[in-house]
C-alpha cells in the first residue's frame, strides 16, 4: 500500500514536471524542420541511442557508455522491484527464469552496477580533484557544479543499496532453507533448496553474515526501500537537473536541424520588405494598419523557436562546445554552453512566473538578451559551427547567438562601429570595403597590362 502510494506520488510529480517543461518549450515560436523521418530516425539511433559522438573522446566515451548501459538494463531489475512492491512478492522473475539463469542475469546487472559505481567515483575525482578545464568555467559555479556532483553521489549511494540488498538477501535465502516455518523464511525462500548468491554482492556476504536473521531482514528491507525510493527520487530530481538529457537526448536528436550548417535561417518578413523597396511587389493595402509591428531577431526566449528551448533543456553542460569554441579558447567572454544554459534559465524563469501568477500573468521586465547574455558575448562569435559539431546530443548554440545578433543589428542598430561602416559599404558600394563599384573589374585590366 505504502509502495503503491509512493509510486503514484512519483508518477504524479513527474507528470506535472513533464507538463511544466513541455509548456516552457512551447513558449518558443513554431519550427518546422525538413520532413525526413528516415534520416531523423537514423540520427536518433546513431547519436542518441548509439552515442556515436561521445566516442570522439574514446576513454570518456567508454566510461559514459558504462553508466548508460547500466541505466538502460537496470530498468529490467527495477521492473521486477516495482512488481514485487505492488504485489508483495519477492523476486517475482526468479521462478520464471529458473535459478541458474536468474543468477547469471542478476550477476550481469551487478557487474554493470559495479561499473557504474566505479565510473561515478572516477567522474567525481575528475570533476573535483583533477580539474578538467571545461568543468571549471564561470558558468559552472554554484548550482551547475553542485548538480553534477549530487547526481554522481546519488548514483553511488543507489548502487551501494543495491549490493547490500542482494547480499543480505543471499544470506537470508541460505538460512531460509533451514527455517521453513518462519514467515520471513517463506518470503525469502525463492528457490527450492538452492539459495542464490550473486556475482558481485557475494563479496559483501562476510560483512553481514554475523547479523541475526531479524537484523538481516530489517537491513534487506531497508536497503530495498532505499534503493527503490531512491530511484523514484532520482527520477524526480532528474527533471530539475542537467540530467534531463537522459530522456530529452532522444527527441532532441530527432529534431536536429538538417540544413547545411552554414545556412542561416531566412527571414520571410524581410524578403517582403525588400521586394517592396525594389518595386517588385506592391505594399499590402492595409499596410500600416496592422497594430503589431513585427520585431526582428530574438530578445527573449519567446522569440526563439521551441527547438532552441528543447535544445536548452537537453543540455548536459558538458562543455564540449565551449571547449572547441575559438572565441572562448582565446579568452573572450563567449561560451556557447553558457548561452544554452541561459536559454534554459530564462525559460524556467518565465515558466515559474506563469505558474505563480496564473491567469494574472504579467511579463517581467527582464530579457534573455541584456539580462542574461551580453552584447560582448554575442559579437565574438565567428559562426564557425565548431560548437554545433561538437555537441554529443546535437544541440545548436549558434542559432540563438545569430538570432540575438539580428536583434542587436536591426532593432537596436547597436553593432560595433566597424560593422556599421562595413554595412554601409555593402549597401552603397556592393563590397564590405570602401571601394567604388566601378573599380570592381580593375583586376582584369591590371592582369592584361602585366
Amino acid at each position: 500500500m505504502l509502495f503503491v502510494t509512493a509510486l503514484l506520488v512519483t508518477a504524479g510529480v513527474i507528470f506535472s514536471r513533464y507538463k511544466y517543461i513541455r509548456r516552457n518549450i512551447e513558449l518558443g515560436k513554431s519550427w518546422k524542420g525538413e520532413h525526413n523521418p528516415a534520416e531523423r530516425l537514423r540520427l536518433m539511433i546513431l547519436i542518441a541511442f548509439g552515442q556515436k559522438k561521445m566516442f570522439a573522446r574514446p576513454f570518456v566515451g567508454l566510461m559514459h557508455f558504462v553508466i548508460y548501459a547500466g541505466f538502460l538494463l537496470i530498468n529490467i531489475e527495477i521492473l521486477e522491484i516495482v512488481i514485487d512492491g505492488i504485489t508483495g512478492h519477492h523476486r517475482i522473475f526468479a521462478p520464471l527464469f529458473g535459478a541458474t539463469i536468474y543468477q547469471i542475469l542478476i550477476g550481469f546487472f551487478e557487474l554493470l552496477a559495479l561499473g557504474v559505481l566505479t565510473t561515478c567515483i572516477i567522474f567525481l575525482i575528475r570533476r573535483n580533484i583533477v580539474k578538467v578545464e571545461r568543468f571549471d568555467k564561470p558558468e559552472m559555479k554554484g548550482w551547475a557544479h553542485l548538480d553534477a556532483n549530487l547526481i554522481l553521489i546519488f548514483e553511488i549511494v543507489l548502487m551501494f543499496f543495491l549490493f547490500t540488498m542482494n547480499a543480505t538477501d543471499s544470506i537470508l535465502q541460505m538460512r531460509a532453507t533451514d527455517l521453513v516455518n518462519n514467515m520471513d523464511a517463506a518470503h525469502y525462500k525463492v528457490f527450492e533448496n538452492t539459495p542464490v548468491r550473486f556475482l558481485v554482492s557475494q563479496a559483501l556476504i562476510p560483512l553481514y553474515d554475523g547479523l541475526t536473521t531479524t537484523q538481516l531482514v530489517l537491513l534487506e528491507r531497508a536497503a530495498w526501500w532505499f534503493h527503490i525510493v531512491g530511484i523514484m527520487g532520482f527520477a524526480i530530481y532528474v527533471t530539475y537537473s542537467k540530467h534531463l538529457h537522459i530522456f530529452l537526448a532522444f527527441p532532441n536528436v530527432y529534431f536536429t536541424r538538417l540544413q547545411p550548417k552554414g545556412e542561416m535561417n531566412n527571414m520571410p518578413s524581410i524578403t517582403k520588405e525588400v521586394k517592396i523597396t525594389m518595386g517588385m511587389e506592391e505594399p499590402a493595402a492595409d499596410a500600416g494598419m496592422e497594430d503589431e509591428i513585427p520585431s526582428f531577431g530574438a530578445k527573449d526566449v519567446t522569440d526563439l523557436t521551441w527547438r532552441n528551448i528543447l535544445d536548452a533543456y537537453t543540455c548536459t553542460q558538458c562543455g564540449r562546445c565551449t571547449d572547441v569554441c575559438p572565441a572562448n579558447m582565446t579568452g573572450k567572454k563567449l561560451s556557447p554552453r553558457k548561452i544554452v544554459m541561459n536559454v534554459r534559465q530564462r525559460a524556467d524563469e518565465i515558466g515559474q512566473r506563469m505558474d505563480e501568477m496564473g491567469e494574472y500573468y504579467k511579463p517581467d521586465d527582464k530579457m534573455l538578451y541584456g539580462d542574461y547574455v551580453t552584447k560582448e558575448e554575442l559579437m565574438a562569435c565567428t559562426s564557425c559551427n565548431a560548437c554545433v559539431e561538437a555537441c554529443p546530443v546535437n544541440i545548436n548554440p549558434l542559432e540563438p547567438i545569430l538570432e540575438m545578433r539580428r536583434y542587436v543589428a536591426m532593432e537596436e542598430a547597436d553593432v560595433p562601429d566597424a560593422w556599421k561602416a562595413m554595412l554601409t559599404n555593402v549597401g552603397n558600394n556592393g563590397a564590405p570595403w570602401a571601394f567604388a563599384p566601378t573599380e570592381r573589374f580593375k583586376w582584369a585590366d591590371e592582369m592584361k597590362n602585366q
Binding site: N385, A386, T438, A444
Partner: protein
C-alpha cells in the same frame, strides 16, 4: 602562354554575342579588391584559360553576396544584395557558378535558393579536383615536390558544407608531403574571420584566434600553408608573420599551387 591570348570574357560581352558560358566564375569582393587575393583570381583565370573552359565573369555587374551583412545580423542589407545579384544572375540565365570564396559559395549555394536564386554552385576546390580528374588540368610537383604542406580547413567549406577531401586531393597531386595540424577536418580551428569578424576588431581576450591557429600551423613545420578562402589567407598570413616565419612558411591558395607547379 602569351598574355594577349588570355581571355577574361564578361557576361555582358558574351550575351551581346548571343553566347552563354559553361560556368560563371564568381570573383567575390576579396578576389576583386584585396591585393593579395587578386593573385588567386589571376591564378583561376590562368587555369580556366589553360583548360580551355568556356567561362565568364560578371565584372562590374557583380556585387557582394551579402554574407558579412547577414552574419552581422543585418538581414535587410543582406537581402537587398541577394535580390540584386539574383536579378543579374537570372537575367543572364546562369546555371553553373564556380567561386574561390567559401563564404560566397555557402551563400550562393545554400541561401539564395529561398530568395529565388537556384544555381549549381561549386567551390573552386571541388571544381579543380574535377578538372584534374577529367584530365583538363595537368601538373606535376614542380617547385613543390617533396615540400611539406599543411592544409587549413575553412569552416565555411568544411563544417558548414562537408567539403574536406577535395582540397586535399588537389594537393596530393603535388608530390609533396601533406601534414595535418592537430585540429583538422571536422575538428578544424577557425581562422577567426568568419561571421563578419573579418570586418571588426576582436572582443577583449587573451589572444587573437589567428595567432592560436598559426601557432598550430607553425608547429607542424610546413613549407607551405594551403588555404581555400580569402579570409583564411589573410588571417593565416598575419599569424605566420606574428611568429616571424613569413620567410620560411608561405601561405598559398589551392589554385596558386597549380599555377606554380605548372609554371603558368
Amino acid at each position: 602562354m602569351s598574355e594577349e591570348t588570355l581571355r577574361i570574357p564578361t557576361m555582358a560581352e558574351l550575351s551581346a554575342e548571343g553566347k552563354s558560358p559553361e560556368i560563371l566564375f564568381w570573383v567575390g569582393c576579396a578576389g576583386s579588391y584585396d591585393d593579395r587575393y587578386k593573385a588567386v583570381t589571376r591564378a583561376m583565370i590562368r587555369i580556366l584559360n589553360k583548360a580551355n573552359i568556356n567561362f565568364a565573369v560578371l565584372g562590374t555587374e557583380e556585387s557582394c553576396t551579402g554574407d558579412p551583412a547577414r552574419r552581422a545580423g543585418d538581414e535587410f542589407t543582406f537581402q537587398m544584395q541577394a535580390a540584386m545579384n539574383i536579378e543579374v544572375l537570372n537575367n543572364y540565365n546562369i546555371k553553373n557558378i564556380v567561386t574561390a570564396c567559401p563564404h560566397c559559395f555557402n551563400t550562393l549555394k545554400n541561401e539564395y535558393p529561398e530568395l529565388g536564386g537556384n544555381y549549381d554552385v561549386i567551390h573552386h576546390s571541388t571544381y579543380l579536383q574535377k578538372l584534374i580528374n577529367e584530365g583538363k588540368v595537368k601538373f606535376g610537383g614542380g617547385e613543390f615536390k617533396g615540400k611539406r604542406i599543411t592544409y587549413h580547413d575553412s569552416c565555411y567549406l568544411g563544417r558548414a558544407n562537408d567539403i574536406y577531401e577535395a582540397p586535399r586531393e588537389v594537393l596530393e597531386k603535388l608530390d609533396a608531403e601533406l601534414v595535418e595540424m592537430k585540429r583538422c577536418k571536422s575538428k578544424g580551428l577557425c581562422c577567426g574571420a568568419g561571421g563578419a569578424q573579418m570586418f571588426k576588431d576582436a572582443e577583449k581576450g587573451k589572444k587573437e584566434v589567428n595567432i592560436e591557429r598559426a601557432e598550430e600551423a607553425v608547429a607542424v613545420r610546413p613549407d607551405y600553408v594551403a588555404v581555400g578562402c580569402p579570409f583564411c589567407m589573410t588571417m593565416m598570413g598575419d599569424g605566420i608573420k606574428h611568429f616571424n616565419k613569413e620567410k620560411e612558411i608561405k601561405v598559398l591558395d589551392l589554385s596558386e599551387f597549380i599555377v606554380g607547379a605548372q609554371d603558368l
